[in-house]
């Protein structure tokens, strides 16, 4: 069983570990750190924080499995209505780097119906091999047939790495496959790398709403699975004419059985708010004052070709619908430009947008926390500044 202990001879009582522990499991007693085993979750934050190597986290070694049979980097290519989603190209782009570091093939996995041509095209995005399973039951995503087919592919061909998009489909699918394959799965990775000596996939992701970063591995289980969010990695470039080896697989009928039935697929106008996709977001908070304030933001968004976002305060006050909410209890967005208008910049909101490339803050309060993270800060009245920016961009963009 795993355990953790304080090496008392090394502990100097600096209490950095106390502050680092997200679960409040450490306190100081007579100048030394004491871990409350009832609260400790063995997360290891304290080990990282200790400057004196005074905390030892011991994991029982366990029998080392023979994992040599597992080879190749796989990317699950999500398709909707026969169109490959751009997240898949981003994963292929990243997958190429990983495959090269490991010296193995990059393989795309495609499930659907009548997608032979699509399967071929994946070669142009860097895939060396494409595993394609075509069947009517796979036309649109359903949990049972997709997880069954993917699990069978994994079991038969034994990839060492399997990447999947952190989309609604991706997350539902890959979590089930990870259980069936008895594999480790890390969600929402922001960085992936290889430790060539151990052939380990180093999976880095944020935790505690982005306040810490953790690097995770699955040393003793294969495949090593990870999901990555949209727009975090770069798309694989198109190499026209590049060919991949397409392996068409077919499975017995029971593999395609589905307990659930897909009755209808509905597209909603409101969903085109798709904040997660937007390159430019114009967001408003309590400082916008009301629905009229948001009309100003919509004008700016229109001119810039962006989407409108909102802080929780604005949504709670009913000035705009929840679909536009950005933040800890809303959406996480990574646009090129994020305008934060009348938003104070509380951590719950920052969590949802701090990875934006450029943040422009407009707020009448010079002490607002948003200015600490904004690339460009403007202290002023949103009702004057926002229309002025709209007019100026209209002029500059000749609209």
């Amino acid at each position: 069983m795993a355990s953790i202990r304080i090496l008392l001879d090394k502990c100097v009582g600096c209490s950095l570990c106390v502050k680092a522990c997200p679960f409040g499991a450490i306190h100081m007693s007579e100048g030394k750190a004491v871990i409350d085993m009832g609260k400790c979750t063995l997360c290891g934050s304290c080990v990282a924080a200790c400057r004196f190597s005074a905390i030892e986290l011991e994991k029982s070694a366990g029998p080392k499995k023979d994992l040599s049979a597992y080879k190749d980097v796989w990317v699950f290519c999500e398709q909707k209505k026969g169109v490959v989603q751009s997240i898949s190209y981003e994963l292929l782009g990243e997958g190429r780097k990983l495959a090269d570091k490991l010296g193995v093939k990059l393989c795309a996995v495609l499930l659907g119906e009548g997608l032979d041509a699509v399967a071929e095209s994946l070669g142009e995005r860097g895939a060396d091999k494409v595993y394609y399973v075509g069947h009517p039951a796979l036309k649109a995503y359903q949990d049972d047939p997709y997880s069954e087919v993917l699990s069978r592919l994994v079991e038969e061909y034994k990839p060492e790495v399997l990447l999947c998009g952190a989309t609604t489909i991706g997350r539902s699918l890959i979590s089930r496959v990870a259980i069936k394959a008895d594999a480790g799965l890390t969600a929402d990775c922001t960085a992936l790398d290889i430790d060539p000596k151990e052939r380990l996939l180093l999976q880095t992701r944020p935790a505690f709403g982005g306040n810490i970063m953790a690097t995770i591995t699955a040393p003793n289980h294969r495949p090593q699975m990870a999901t990555v969010r949209h727009k975090v990695m770069k798309e694989a470039p198109v190499e026209k004419g590049r060919k991949a080896e397409v392996v068409k697989k077919d499975y017995p009928a029971e593999a395609y059985a589905s307990r659930t039935k897909l009755l209808e697929m509905v597209e909603e106008l409101g969903a085109t708010v798709n904040l997660s996709e937007a390159d430019i977001i114009v967001a408003g908070g309590r400082g916008m004052g009301g629905k009229e304030g948001f009309a100003l933001l919509e004008d700016l968004a229109k001119v810039l070709g962006g989407a409108v976002g909102a802080s929780r305060s604005a949504v709670d006050a009913d000035w705009i619908s929840y679909a536009h909410q950005v933040g800890q209890t809303g959406k996480t967005v990574v646009p090129k430009i994020y305008f934060a208008c009348g938003i104070s910049g509380q951590i719950q909101h920052l969590i949802g947008m701090q990875s934006s490339k450029i943040i422009v803050a407009v707020n009448k309060d010079p002490e607002a926390p948003i200015f600490k993270v904004a690339t460009y800060g403007i202290v002023g009245d949103v009702n004057e500044v926002v229309p002025a920016i709209t007019r100026e961009f209209k002029r500059v963009l000749n609209k």
């Binding site: 004052g289 009301g290 305060s313 709670d316 006050a317 009913d318 002490e367």
Partner: protein
């Protein structure tokens, strides 16, 4: 300050505080603008069992007392006195039934009020009868007697003015004259349900403050009310009214304390961050003294209010003087503190973009309704003089 609330009171206070912070504060300004009745908030309060905290358990309540009601009213008022009034006024409407009603009337009406499914309202004031409540002109003429079907009925005629929750509430306790010749002993109390033929509501009044509270006339035109809806006996109307008001006055005081606290918190927060002459204005003694006075006055009013509420809950026979004192002190305090809160915030305090001017507009009514502070002073003086006589 620790008021040694019991476990249920602490639970109730924390829940009310959470509702105030999460549900009421974000929408207070909006309701003030639109003057709409905050039904969604009433629904949240109902689902949390808060409407019944002072109603006995056998009628679906939580069996707490007036102190519990004051604690809730104060917490809600810290976010918005107008929305809190929808809640507190329902208690005012329910009290005549709780204090003087028959077992059947309590069984019939209190559970509905305790669950928050129906709101209540109290109808006493008329155009010609404000401070002089005994000058009411609304009549209730008896028709039939105990041998008639249903024991007979009363026909109500008259107009009640400035009734809080009128039009929104479903249960109304109405004071009307059954025998003009008997003067003070000629009034009776009735329960009238919304939708009774002959009962109508006037337009919603436009007020200086507590705009989200619904204030309307209640107009009775040959309105027939079953005899079973007479509370207690004929002639007990003003006694029922006085007992009701004595019991509910700590609630008005609590509303005033809550509003003063809410305004004070905003102003203090602002003063800490407002920098002038190179320092936060809380560094100046002039401001510090204002803060000290405001804080002390709020605490004193709260302490008096809670002490009186405890007295009411203990079943004390005579509570008029103390109840009047709590209301008088708290409401005068609230007017002063909310005015000072605006002052502390300077220009920003005057702007409608900031919440404090609303607290000042809202606080004024507490000096006027449920007996003006001039009447309260009369009552207090009369009681003090009487007590002094008795001591000799």
């Amino acid at each position: 300050m620790d008021y040694f609330l019991n476990e249920q009171q602490i639970m109730v206070r924390d829940l009310a505080r959470r509702i105030a912070r999460e549900k009421i504060a974000p929408v207070a300004a909006q309701y003030d603008e639109s003057e709409e009745f905050a039904w969604p908030i009433m629904k949240v309060l109902a689902e949390s069992d808060l409407f019944g905290i002072y109603i006995p358990e056998q009628y679906g309540g939580l069996g707490g007392g007036i102190l519990d009601m004051c604690v809730v009213t104060e917490e809600l008022s810290r976010a918005c006195g107008a929305i809190a009034l929808g809640y507190a006024s329902s208690a005012l409407g329910a009290l005549p039934i709780m204090i003087s009603g028959s077992e059947e009337q309590k069984k019939k009406y209190l559970p509905e009020i305790a669950s928050g499914r129906k709101l209540a309202a109290f109808c006493l004031t008329e155009a010609g009868a404000g401070s002089d409540a005994t000058a009411i002109q609304t009549t209730a003429r008896k028709e039939g007697d105990s041998s008639s079907p249903g024991g007979g009925k009363y026909i109500l005629n008259g107009t009640k003015q400035w009734i809080t929750n009128a039009g929104e509430a479903e249960i109304y306790t109405v004071i009307a004259m059954t025998d003009k010749k008997k003067g003070v002993r000629g009034a009776s109390a009735f329960i009238v349900e919304k939708g009774t033929k002959g009962m109508e509501f006037g337009k919603k009044e436009k007020k200086m403050g507590i705009r989200a509270s619904a204030t309307r006339e209640v107009i009775f035109t040959d309105c027939e009310v079953p005899a079973a809806n007479l509370i207690s006996r004929e002639g007990m109307g003003f006694i029922a009214a006085l007992k009701t008001l004595d019991t509910s006055r700590p609630g008005v005081a609590a509303q005033a304390v809550g509003m003063a606290q809410g305004a004070f918190d905003h102003a203090l927060n602002y003063a800490r961050t407002r920098v002038q002459f190179g320092q936060p204005v809380t560094g100046f003694q002039a401001v510090q003294h204002m803060i000290a006075d405001m804080g002390t006055q709020i605490e004193a009013a709260r302490a008096l209010t809670y002490a009186v509420a405890r007295m009411v809950d203990s079943g004390a026979k005579s509570i008029s003087r103390e109840s009047a004192m709590a209301k008088l002190f708290a409401s005068d305090m609230a007017m002063k503190v909310t005015t000072d809160a605006v002052q502390l915030m300077g220009g920003y305090g005057y702007m409608r973009d900031y919440p404090v001017e609303k607290f000042m507009r809202d606080a004024k009514i507490t000096q006027i309704y449920e007996g003006t502070n001039q009447i309260q002073r009369n009552v207090i003086a009369a009681n003090l003089i009487k007590e002094s006589l008795q001591k000799d």
